[in-house]
Each structure stands twice: as structure tokens, then as C-alpha cells.
């Protein structure tokens, strides 16, 4: 059988205006002419699940740290017998990955190490995880303390008397390096338990697949998934705040939430307002360190810095409470259903197998919550503080004339910023007029901005080169939903009936409704109650909107993608990993989403696309 192929990297057209794009990223991230033969031999799939839009040069840091640390935990930390890490490249602005298998003859000799290491973690899970929390929070506190204030005009007198003999430039340089280093450290911690969580899950998963051939993946997920996870805390805090607001009769203060200050002032002046504000303040630390993005982009907005966002969500909840809706997740129903599923499967086994089933399930139940909860601590909290510090530095440097706004700095890669810092330290130290970069960077940033904008006009290829005959590597299947069937479907692409999309049956249920295509988190407020969310990918931080939609359809993601997990949590149908739903479906299309089968049918695309009116972007008038 001749295998159909995806394009080679060199075959993908460079969008007009993006010529020279390779130079804006670090050399080690782009495909090399000298390695063409080798790199074309490998199958690369695009991770648009985590990186759906084009990287600005500085933003590759998240991809680099995350994928490096993930792979290193497989390859050298846990000594996973069959999987080394995942090789990765940035091509035309998007991240492509290629898992590295362990050569067959080396698999056996890794098993002993693997069992010892994994066994130790599972035997000491609670203690090690408690330690993890301390480590991660300490790192965040350290990042928070980093100071990027301007260099002093003159060295303070106490540094003279104490004989410190430094001028503050060492602090600036060191703090930048510390910022990068501490962030790297938390990314390393990110994977300390993540791969283990997946291993415990897979252990139970494979047992179930053997005991109950063809058992739906959903059933296995349902038997493991927790119902009350830390990742849902931020959203739950908003729901409680909404309830309190209704109890205290504060609803009227929430009709102009786009102006956060005015809203909070109005609340402060109302009866019971102080009580509400007290609760509001308590909820913020740490739960408002939460982004509507996914933490990997400099433009991701965090609640704590954009209080209008949580206020808008609260206003939505208040409206629904006033309508008599139940805004809380159907926790009790989910628990009952979970128990039923566990019991019914268990009862199908003989006594001996029941014990194994229960012990494997318990391990998965213990280890699995981390898979979701870590997200709050790293992607949301750590990265929220990280990007804030990046903006502090960017602002300070903008004030020195290196560029106009803090965000302009994102067009430099992180190693170029070290050069800029010495430029700054140098000009400041010697008393020159301005850093040299003031004449270099504004022009260069404009050039790069055009390149990034041009790259954004093209969607990434789902994959590159020839796929292997079958994809069975469990992490790839589970995390990215990259399966043999999925790859074949991507390849079939245009041959298929365009009104019928297939993906992963990620969360059961069948509904019909109107599509709302969301390409970016900033568009979330356009969603109307009862619509079906269609997006390249969702982030768990979109929590509040899951309370008002009917179903979710994504381009990328497996059974354990965020959309899948959140939808099961909210009892909504979800089809993930369709490959192209967000570009095939248009807002206003009528869809039938069957989350049990993994199908999406476009019933009618004739309905005119809804026009967002002036008020449609505001929570207050939605």
C-alpha cells in the first residue's frame, strides 16, 4: 500500500511578506538545509492544541521549556522503556513535534530503572506531591519578587559606605536570568508528576481495554476523573461571588462590568457591598491568577490584571441566577453516574480481576487529578506572574527608547534580550545618551511584526511528511489525539463529505444547535446561551462559558484534552480532534454534535452569519 503523505516542510508555501521568517527564531528551532534528508524522513505533527497561533520570537520560550522538560522526563528521568522525548521545531511560526522512540534493543534494559523510579513515586505520592506544592509556590514567590525597576541615576550613598561596589546593573542582568531560570524550573516541576499521572491512567486504561475489549475511552475516563478539582476553583469562586451578590441584592451594580473600577466603586457604596468585596478580595489570591488564554502567549490576559473579565463572568452568572438557572456544575449527578459506571464494569469481572481493577483504578484516581490541577499552578499562576514580569521589563526598556510598548519586546527572542540588557547596562554605566538598540530595534521589530502578521495568514499543516503505518505510542494518542485513524482522516481531507466531520468521541451526548466559531479567547463574550462552541482548541480557563453552551467541537485534542475533560465535567457533548472544524464550520451553521460517536453534522449552512452588534462584546448587554 502506498502511503499518502503530508507535505514536506520545504513544500509548504511561505506566505507573502513572511520571507526571511527563519531568522526571527533561535537557530535550533528551525529545520536546517543540511539536515533536510534526516528531517524529511521523520513524521511531524503540529501541536496547535497548545500553540494555536504563530509565535512571536520571545514566545517560543513556553514551547521550548514545556516540550524539552516533557521529553527529558520520559527519556532520562523516568526512563520510560519505549518512549524518549519529543523532538520539536518551529516551522512557519507553528510548533511541530516528532516523538523519538527507544530503539527496540534498548527497551528491555530500561525497564528495571523505569519500574524503580515510577514505583518510588507511586509509593510516596502524597508526600512528594506536598513537596511539589511547596517547591512550585516558592518559585512563584521568587519570580514575583524580581525587580525590574530602572537603574539608579547615581549609586546610593549606603552602597558607598557599605563598600558594596555595585551599580544595580548586576541586579538587572541577574534578575533577567533568574526570571528565565525560575520559569524553567517550574516547567521542570510541571512534568515531575504529569507523565506519572498519565502512566497511572494508561495502566488502568490498558487493563480496561483488555478486560472489556473496545470499551469506549469515555467510560474509562469517567471512572477516573475527579469531580472537584483545583482547576475548577477559579470558576467556582465566581459562581459563589455571583450567589453572594444575589443574596446581598447587589445585581444592579453589575450592568457595566467593562468598567471594573466603576463597578467596584458602586458595589463599595451599596449595603452589603463591603461584605461582597471582602469575598472578592479573598478569591483573588491565588485564584485570579487565571488566564482566558492558555499561558503560552504574551497576549494572554489574566483575570487579576483585567478585573473586567471575572466581573463580566459574574454578571453572566447573576443574570442566570435571576432567571432561576442552576449555575453550579451537576456535581452530584456526575458522582452518582461515575459510581454506577464503576460498579457495573466491576461487576462484570471475577473476584480476582475485581481486585486488580480496583487497585489500578485507585492508583489512577490518586494520580490523575494532578493532570488537571497542575495547570493552575504552572500555565496560569506561574506563567501569569512570568508574563507580568516580562511586561515590567519591557516597559522599563521601552522608557529607554528601545521600543514603544512592552509588547514590542516579544519580537526579540530571549537571548537577544540579554544583549539588549548589556547594551542598557553599558550606555547607562558610561553615561552615554541612549542605548545603541534604540536605533536598531524599532526598525527590526517592525520588520518582524510584518513577518509574524504574514505567517498568521496561513493555518499550519496538521502534519509533515509520511506518517508511520500505525500510531500506537500511548502518550501521543492520549494527549494529542493523534491516532492512525485521525491521521488517515486528515490525509483523506477533501475527499470526504464536507458536511460530516469526524473526531474523537470525547464526551457523550447528542444535541442540535447553532455554531459559534471562536478563533481567539477575546471573542468568548460573543457566545450566546445555547450555542455550540467551535474552536481550534479550548482552554480550561474558558470555564464560565461551559455553563452556557450546548456542546463543544475542537480541531485538536484527544480524550484527555482540556475540552474533553471540561465537557465531561459539565456534562456536555464534545467532539475533539476534528482537524478542521473551526475552518469548515461557520458561525450560525446548524450542527448535530454526537459526542458518543465523535461526529459533527452540518445540517444547514444557509443561515446568514450573525452580525455582532455594538453591544455583543460586552458582558453587560449580552
Amino acid at each position: 500500500m502506498t502511503m499518502k503523505s503530508f507535505p514536506k516542510p520545504s513544500e509548504l508555501p511561505v506566505p507573502e511578506g513572511a520571507e526571511g521568517w527563519e531568522d526571527i527564531y533561535p537557530y535550533y528551532l528551525v529545520f536546517q538545509d543540511e539536515l533536510k534528508e534526516q528531517e524529511d524522513e521523520k513524521f511531524w505533527f503540529c501541536d496547535s492544541q497548545h500553540w494555536p497561533t504563530v509565535f512571536k520570537p520571545f514566545e517560543t520560550i513556553g514551547g521550548e521549556f514545556a516540550v524539552k522538560c516533557l521529553g527529558q522526563y520520559n527519556a532520562r528521568h523516568l526512563m520510560i522503556p519505549t518512549a524518549k522525548g519529543i523532538d520539536f521545531r518551529v516551522h512557519l511560526g507553528y510548533l511541530y513535534m516528532s516523538p523519538i522512540p527507544v530503539p527496540g534493543e534498548e527497551v528491555a534494559e530500561r525497564i528495571e530503572d523505569f519500574e524503580a523510579r515510577v514505583g518510588h513515586y507511586f509509593a510516596n505520592w502524597e508526600d512528594l506531591l506536598a513537596q511539589w506544592h511547596t517547591k512550585v509556590k516558592n518559585t512563584i514567590a521568587e519570580i514575583e519578587a524580581l525587580d525590574f525597576s530602572p537603574l539608579p541615576e547615581k549609586v546610593p550613598f549606603e552602597d558607598i559606605t557599605s563598600g558594596k561596589a555595585m551599580d544595580g546593573s548586576e541586579r538587572l542582568m541577574e534578575n533577567y536570568d533568574r526570571l528565565i531560570q525560575l520559569t524553567y524550573q517550574n516547567w521542570q516541576y510541571h512534568f515531575e508528576f504529569l507523565n506519572l499521572g498519565y502512566i497511572a491512567y494508561l495502566d488502568f486504561f490498558n487493563f480496561c481495554k483488555e478486560a472489556f475489549p473496545n470499551i469506549p475511552d469515555q467510560s474509562i475516563a469517567a471512572m477516573v476523573q475527579g469531580v472537584d478539582m483545583e482547576l475548577f476553583r477559579p470558576d467556582d469562586e465566581l459562581k459563589h461571588l455571583a450567589k453572594t451578590a444575589v443574596e446581598l441584592n447587589l445585581q444592579s451594580a453589575f450592568d457595566q462590568t467593562h468598567d471594573a473600577d466603576a463597578t467596584l466603586d458602586a458595589i463599595a457604596n451599596m449595603d452589603g457591598g463591603q461584605q461582597w468585596l471582602e469575598q472578592w478580595k479573598q478569591a483573588q489570591d491565588p485564584w485570579f491568577n487565571f488566564t482566558i488564554g492558555n499561558g503560552f502567549y504574551g497576549h494572554d490576559k489574566y483575570w487579576i490584571e483585567h478585573l473586567d473579565i471575572p466581573l463580566g463572568f459574574i454578571a453572566d452568572y447573576i443574570r442566570r441566577l435571576d432567571n432561576g438557572d442552576d449555575i453550579m456544575r451537576p456535581t452530584q449527578r456526575l458522582i452518582v453516574e461515575k459510581e454506577r459506571i464503576v460498579e457495573e464494569y466491576r461487576d462484570l469481572l471475577d473476584a480476582e480481576a475485581q481486585q486488580v481493577f480496583e487497585s489500578k483504578r485507585q492508583l489512577a484516581v490518586t494520580a490523575y487529578p494532578y493532570v488537571e490541577n497542575h495547570n493552575f499552578y504552572i500555565e496560569h499562576w506561574t506563567m501569569g506572574v512570568f508574563w507580568r514580569k516580562v511586561r515590567e521589563l519591557g516597559t522599563m526598556l521601552a522608557d529607554l527608547g528601545l521600543w514603544e510598548t512592552a509588547d514590542d519586546m516579544l519580537y526579540l527572542n530571549r537571548n537577544e534580550i540579554r544583549d539588549v540588557l548589556f547594551d542598557v547596562v553599558m550606555f547607562h554605566g558610561v553615561g552615554a545618551k541612549a542605548p545603541i538598540g534604540a536605533v536598531k530595534w524599532p526598525k527590526e521589530i517592525e520588520r518582524r511584526r510584518k513577518i509574524v502578521d504574514a505567517l498568521k495568514t496561513a493555518r499550519p499543516a496538521p502534519a509533515l511528511n509520511t506518517p508511520p503505518e500505525s500510531i500506537t505510542e500511548p502518550f501521543t494518542r492520549m494527549l494529542w489525539g493523534i491516532t492512525t485513524e485521525q491521521v488517515n482522516q486528515w490525509l483523506a481531507g477533501d475527499d470526504e463529505d464536507a458536511s460530516q466531520l469526524k473526531g474523537m468521541a470525547a464526551s457523550p451526548g447528542k444535541v442540535e444547535g447553532t455554531a459559534r466559531v471562536i478563533m481567539h479567547a477575546d471573542e468568548l463574550s460573543e457566545i450566546q446561551p445555547g450555542e455550540i462552541l467551535v474552536a481550534p482548541i479550548t482552554a480550561p480557563s474558558w470555564g464560565p462559558i461551559f455553563g452556557k453552551i450546548k456542546a463543544t467541537v475542537t480541531d485538536i485534542g484527544g480524550m484527555m484534552s482540556h475540552a474533553a475533560i471540561v465537557c465531561r465535567e459539565y456534562d456536555l457533548p464534545a467532539v475533539t480532534g476534528t482537524g478542521n472544524a473551526s475552518t469548515t464550520i461557520k458561525t450560525g451553521d446548524q450542527l448535530i454534535v454526537d459526542g458518543g460517536k465523535g461526529t459533527v453534522e452540518i445540517v444547514s449552512g444557509d443561515k446568514p452569519t450573525q452580525v455582532s452588534g455594538p453591544g455583543a462584546h460586552s458582558h453587560a448587554t449580552a
Partner: protein, 362 residues
């Protein structure tokens, strides 16, 4: 309305073998257990007792006393006389009224009058075996109340066939207290039907429900004259695990003019799609699951979709019997109960190595 003479299947009354007979009690039990059978009612033994009263029973007993066991012709003659009495004797008003009310109540569920079946439901020891009465005295496609009452009498009369008389004499079963219940049940107007097993017959995996379905009456599926749709569902979540749309080129459907089944071609459009909607399929699976739970062992059921009944109530159980062929098999791949290593969880040995191989090849 219920009285001692009549019991509808869905009255929710504890079924008693001695008043409902074997068949009647079983239909009431199944209905109560969430396994809806074609709707209907039982004319209890109390109705028979009231009918037979004191005078009729006296005449019958007198005739029976004179019978010569060794003279076949004599037995036949006596039998014919008794059955003649039963067919002619007027039914007491209260019994007649109760039967009429029950019949109207059954018909009231439907837009127009539906044909019914009338069958005898013997209490165990009165007849040679349940199947003798149950199968012999089944009258199908009866239209209208008069036809029903006529056949109820025929069922009652069947207590006194020659064979039944001889059987009781030979086994010293007294004629005192002899009674008979009769079942009146809607004829199924089957738009789709088939079988369902509460396991995967290919490997004995009990976490699955396997459904074969086709259009019309289920006979085509059972006899194998069509290739039915074949669907496998997960028993716990009822998600579809796999499905194959069968050819199902013909269907047997009831013909109202002749009160019989006729065969006709299924057009291409209907062949191409599943003969059950999602909701119907789920209902069939739930029915099979309930049958398994009720009987405590894997079941092989026959079911039907009745076109005269509304959605949600139209999936009917026609038969449930223990599945014995496959349920004794162990699942093909039984998980190793003692495997403690996590390496196994990564599929080491099978899938991973083939993955490695394929990656190396590519």
C-alpha cells in the same frame, strides 16, 4: 379498572400463578420488571370459576363420571359434549361486562381498533404441559370484541379436550377446582424487530450488548433470510462501539386486509440506513440489560418496535431466554490478574514494539 375477573399486564399487582396461569403471570411479571411485552390483559381463573358456577360444573362432572377411560370414542364424545356446553352456556353479566371494559381499555390506547391474540394460560398441573395449552390454543389476528369472546370460550373449552381429560384421569388429578385463565394481547404491528444478546458472541465479552435488527417482523432476522443491521453497544454506557448496516433486502409486514404477514422488498433508501433510530436502539439495549438483570444470567432476547405505540413505549419484548452458547466462554484476552509492572501498562511487548518498528521504517 381492575376486578377479580380481569388483570391488565400493567396494573402493578403481584402476579399469582393460580389466578393468572403460567403465561399470564409471566407477562405481568415482565411488564412489572420494565420489560414491556405487547400490551394486554388476563381474564383470571375467577372469571372461569364464575362462568362455570354451580350448575354448569355439575353437568360437566356428571358427564365426566360416566367416561370410560379405555374407550377412545366415548372419551371423544364426552369431550365434545362438555365443550359444546361451554360454548353455549351464557356468560354471567359481571364477567361479560368486565371483559368488555378491559377490551375497550386496551383498544383505547390506539387510534383505531387493533387486532389481538387470545391464548389460554393454564395453571400448571391441570393440563399435560404448558406448551400443550399455550401453543395449541393461540388465536391470532382477531378483530372486534365478538371474535375475542368467542375465542375466550374456545380457550376455556380446551380444558376438556380428550387428551386433557385422559391426562387428568391417568394422573389422578381431580376435576375439583379445575380452572383456566385466558390472555388477550395486542398483535404486534412490527415496523422493525430483531434479537439482542447481552454479550459479544465472538468472544463472550459481557461488557457488550449485540443487536441484530431489520425491518418488519423479526422472523427474517431469526431465520436468517436477511442480513440485518449489526450493532454493538457498551453495556454500561450504552454507547455504540461498532455498527454495520445490513442489506435487509426484504421485510415481513402485517397486512390488515388479510390479517397475515406479507413479504415485500425494502427500497434502497431504507436499506442504506439503520432500521432503528438512536433512541430505539438505546431502548432495545436497555430492555436486554433489564432482562439480563431480571433473570440473573446473560440473555438472548427477541424484540420488536410496535408502530401502533408512541415513541418511548414501542419497544416490546417478545421472548427472553438464557444465552448458553457463548456465556460459558471466557473473554478472549483475560487481563493478567497479577501483572504488577507498569511497563506492561505502556503496552510493552506488543503495540509499542510495532510502533517502534513503524517509526524506524518510516
Amino acid at each position: 379498572m381492575t376486578n377479580a375477573f380481569i388483570e391488565h399486564f400493567d396494573d402493578g399487582i403481584e402476579p399469582k400463578l393460580e389466578t393468572l396461569g403460567g403465561k399470564g403471570a409471566s407477562l405481568v411479571t415482565m411488564t412489572a420488571a420494565g420489560m414491556p411485552v405487547p400490551p394486554g390483559f388476563v381474564i383470571t381463573t375467577a372469571a372461569f370459576d364464575a362462568f362455570i358456577g354451580t350448575s354448569l360444573i355439575a353437568q360437566i362432572n356428571e358427564l365426566l363420571e360416566s367416561v370410560d377411560v379405555d374407550d377412545v370414542a366415548d372419551v371423544d364424545e364426552i369431550s365434545a359434549k362438555i365443550r359444546g356446553l361451554i360454548l353455549e352456556c351464557p356468560v354471567p353479566d359481571d364477567v361479560r361486562e368486565a371483559t368488555h371494559t378491559a377490551y375497550n381499555r386496551l383498544q383505547a390506547q390506539f387510534e383505531q381498533q387493533v387486532p389481538v391474540a387470545v391464548r389460554s394460560s393454564a395453571t400448571a398441573e391441570d393440563l399435560p404441559d404448558a406448551s400443550f395449552a399455550g401453543q395449541q390454543d393461540t388465536y391470532l389476528w382477531l378483530n372486534g370484541y365478538d371474535a375475542v369472546t368467542e375465542h375466550i370460550r374456545l380457550c376455556w373449552a380446551s380444558l376438556f379436550t380428550s387428551r386433557a381429560i385422559l391426562y387428568r384421569l391417568k394422573n389422578d388429578i381431580p376435576n375439583d377446582g379445575l380452572s383456566m385463565a385466558v390472555v388477550v394481547q395486542k398483535m404486534v404491528n412490527s415496523s422493525a424487530a430483531g434479537v439482542a444478546m447481552t454479550l459479544d458472541p465472538t468472544n463472550g465479552d459481557r461488557s457488550k450488548i449485540t443487536v441484530d435488527a431489520s425491518y418488519g417482523v423479526g422472523e427474517t432476522v431469526v431465520s436468517g433470510t436477511v442480513t440485518p443491521d449489526n450493532i454493538q453497544l457498551d453495556k454500561v454506557t450504552l454507547d455504540i462501539v461498532s455498527e454495520h448496516i445490513g442489506e435487509k433486502h426484504v421485510e415481513l409486514i402485517p397486512d390488515v386486509t388479510t390479517n397475515s404477514l406479507i413479504e415485500r422488498e425494502v427500497d434502497a433508501d431504507r436499506r442504506a440506513v439503520r432500521s432503528l433510530t438512536d433512541e430505539q436502539l438505546t431502548a432495545v439495549a436497555q430492555l436486554a440489560k433489564r432482562a439480563e438483570k431480571h433473570y440473573g444470567t446473560p440473555q438472548d432476547i427477541e424484540w420488536s418496535v410496535d408502530a401502533d405505540l408512541p415513541d418511548g413505549e414501542n419497544i416490546l419484548l417478545l421472548q427472553s431466554r438464557p444465552e448458553t452458547v457463548h456465556s460459558s466462554k471466557k473473554p478472549a484476552a483475560k487481563p493478567a490478574a497479577t501483572s504488577g509492572g507498569f511497563a506492561a501498562s505502556l503496552g510493552i511487548g506488543s503495540s509499542i514494539s510495532s510502533m517502534t518498528a513503524s517509526f524506524l521504517k518510516s
